[in-house]
């Protein structure tokens, strides 16, 4: 049972550490920046930036729980965003089915493109046994090449304002993408460890060989997992296109490293098998607040790169040390027990 597999890493340790970091950072921001951080404009700009990145991070989380990685999801996001923008700007389509029809068709085909990208990855990993990092590196080049082939590398702008208004409206001060993101996170954290596919992927991540011998349908589950990652990339494309009112190959390239950082920060083991979506959400919030702080403190973009990479490594090292420490404590407890028994 995946529940048991997860329990080996103390369940609440990651969550507690993350919550602690979040509170500490919020307190620091309140102390250091005060009103320039905690004002409606700043917070609402952060809230509108979070969803597109959160969906990418979730897709990356799915891939990393299986012990793989999805380096192609930003490229898939761009590709489906391009398909969406083409549908929206096509006057023939809008003339035929009306602007709302065009929006519906565009959204559906964008989601389908995302799923197709994911299935392509999943099949090349499960059917042909290509290591995920190579498969998705190759497909990243492939997808962005397709995007450039379609657009000639130029941006698509001038989308109908009905669409951008739909994405950017607010319900009780909160944009719908943000609410949708929260809902998806809740659904994912409830369903992922309970559905058969989810369980299969957790098991495959924690031990490939054992999963093979239990006769689980690994190929199907992997394809579904990467398809989900592609679907999330497409959702993030819908939000990105709506928010920026344009799309171009290369949008969101910096998200790739950040998505991996957030997923690792959220306690997903890069070797697979462990990870909770709730923690990924907290990590996304932490990253966004830090990002915002860097802007307010006016760090150079160069320093940012250094800091993201440093954080990724620092977190990995701390995790390993903690794990070693808790292993050692367990062994010591066992030895004490044995000594008592003797």
């Amino acid at each position: 049972m995946p529940e048991k597999i997860q329990r080996r890493w103390p369940i609440d340790m990651d969550s507690m550490i993350l919550a602690g970091i979040l509170v500490a950072i919020l307190a620091f921001m309140g102390f250091a920046l005060g009103d320039s951080f905690f004002n409606i404009r700043n917070i609402s700009s952060m809230v509108s930036q979070i969803p597109e990145f959160a969906f990418l991070a979730m897709g990356m989380g799915v891939a990393m729980i299986t012990g793989g990685i999805d380096l192609s999801n930003v490229a898939a996001m761009n590709l489906s965003g391009i398909v969406l923008a083409l549908c929206l700007t096509s006057s023939r389509l809008a003339g035929g089915v009306g602007i709302w029809g065009a929006i519906l068709i565009g959204a559906v085909s964008a989601l389908l493109v995302g799923v197709a990208c994911g299935v392509f990855n999943g099949l090349s990993i499960s059917r042909f046994g290509i290591p995920p990092i190579i498969a998705t590196l190759g497909s990243m080049l492939f997808f962005s090449g397709l995007g450039v082939g379609i657009t000639n590398g130029e941006g698509i702008t001038g989308l109908p304002e009905q669409f951008t208004r739909l994405i950017n409206m607010t319900i009780v001060e909160l944009p719908p993408p943000f609410l949708f993101m929260l809902a998806v996170f809740v659904v994912m954290s409830i369903l992922a460890p309970r559905l058969t596919t989810g369980k299969t992927l957790y098991m495959y991540g924690s031990s490939r060989v054992a999963a093979l011998f239990t006769g689980l349908r690994i190929g199907k589950s992997l394809a579904l997992g990467y398809a989900l990652s592609g679907l999330f990339a497409a959702v993030s494309a819908l939000i990105l296109v709506g928010r920026t009112n344009s799309i171009k190959v290369g949008y969101g390239d910096t998200y790739q490293l950040q998505a991996i950082l957030v997923v690792v920060l959220g306690g997903v083991n890069p070797d697979g098998g462990k990870g909770k979506f709730g923690n990924i959400l907290v990590a996304v919030l932490i990253l966004q607040i830090l990002q915002n702080a860097f802007t307010l403190f006016m760090f150079t973009p160069y320093a940012k790169k250094l800091i993201w990479g440093g954080m990724l490594l620092a977190f990995m090292v701390v995790r390993t040390l903690l794990e070693k420490w808790s292993d050692r404590r367990k062994i010591r407890a066992r030895m004490a027990q044995m000594a008592e028994g003797a």
């Binding site: 290509i130 498969a135 590196l137 080049l141 492939f142 490293l257 320093a303 440093g310």
Partner: protein
């Protein structure tokens, strides 16, 4: 019927040889096609140019081969290249006032040291802290690039020492005969040394043993952590060397040098037949892979294919090579 059996064996043997030579055959076919399709491909000047261009990727690929043989991966090669390059450039530049300009040889040594230290940090964290190689080197990709930008303030370092530029632009001229460009000579030398280390020294056997099965390597008394540490340090050294050559060739220390070079290096190693799971693969295959990619790049340039499609092409080649490897190993089973 003995005749049939032996002919069967013959044909199997023939197929095996064909399989072993697949990269060389592909290389020859592409060269033949390019020399017919374009006017300039089969000229000494162009061929030497191709060699000069591949020597940078070649150095990266040698280090990458060592690492992939141990079952790891190094995504930070491009960033380490840039860092080694700008450190050297800053010490031989007359325009860069923050550091004194010194003897080019010492400057190169400092650059190589900088790259080796970065690689050693990779190796230390991977072997001691057990951080997954691709996460560690992904972090290093970002850190080293950030350091490069901070060091240079995002500006290229120009006005380099004239004797220093010789190492990238000059020719190796024994007894007055213009033979090969210096980068090519250095690359071939590095390749020869790597070959000796890998196939004529204990260290090389250990590299293969660690990649083949780390546990049995440990049990047979190999210091696995040290081997892993060493291959990443070697990769860092070779990246910095490539950075020095690139800096000298382009006459400037560019902070953005080497972005996405890791793709080419991984492609060369994978095309060369090294298994991504480690422990299997010939170094000579990497050499052929490097030349193959160089020829394809130069050919696509001459056929004026846009650089984006070149990327797509490379992606397909990587995936295709891994698939071929899969089918081959499937046949063996």
């Amino acid at each position: 019927m003995p005749d049939d059996a032996s002919s069967m064996q013959e044909s199997n043997k023939f197929r095996a040889i064909l399989w072993e030579l697949r990269i060389a055959i592909a290389l020859v076919l592409i060269c033949v096609y390019l020399s017919m399709a374009t006017d300039h491909f089969l000229t000494t000047r162009n061929l030497i140019n191709v060699l000069r261009q591949v020597s940078v990727n070649g150095l990266l690929s040698i280090g990458m081969t060592f690492i992939i043989l141990t079952g790891g991966i190094d995504l930070s090669v491009g960033s380490m290249l840039a860092f080694g390059g700008v450190v050297t450039a800053s010490f031989v530049s007359n325009a860069y006032k923050d550091v004194p300009s010194i003897n080019p040889f010492h400057a190169i040594c400092l650059g190589l040291l900088a790259g080796t230290v970065l690689g050693a940090v990779n190796g230390l964290v991977i072997s001691k802290m057990r951080v997954t190689p691709f996460i560690m080197t992904l972090g290093m990709l970002s850190i080293a690039r950030g350091m490069t930008y901070i060091y240079t303030n995002g500006m290229p370092i120009t006005d380099l020492d004239k004797t220093f530029l010789q190492i990238g632009q000059g020719f190796f001229e024994p007894w007055g005969v213009r033979l090969l460009p210096w980068p090519v000579v250095i690359f071939l030398l590095a390749f020869a040394i790597a070959w000796v280390v890998l196939y004529r020294m204990k260290f090389g056997r250990y590299v293969y043993a660690v990649g083949g099965n780390a546990r049995s390597a440990r049990i047979s008394g190999i210091n696995v952590g040290f081997i892993i540490f060493m291959v990443y340090a070697i990769s860092g050294f070779l990246c910095a060397l490539a950075g020095v050559l690139l800096t000298a060739r382009t006459s400037a220390g560019l902070p953005q040098a080497g972005v996405s070079y890791e793709l080419d290096a991984i492609a060369a190693v994978v095309i060369g037949g090294t298994s991504m799971t480690g422990g299997k693969g010939p170094l000579i295959g990497t050499l052929l892979g490097v030349i193959l990619i160089g020829v394809i790049n130069s050919g696509l340039d001459q056929l004026s294919v846009s650089s984006y499609y070149q990327q797509v092409c490379k992606g397909l080649i990587i995936v295709g090579a891994v698939m071929l490897d899969y089918f081959q190993s499937d046949g063996e089973r």
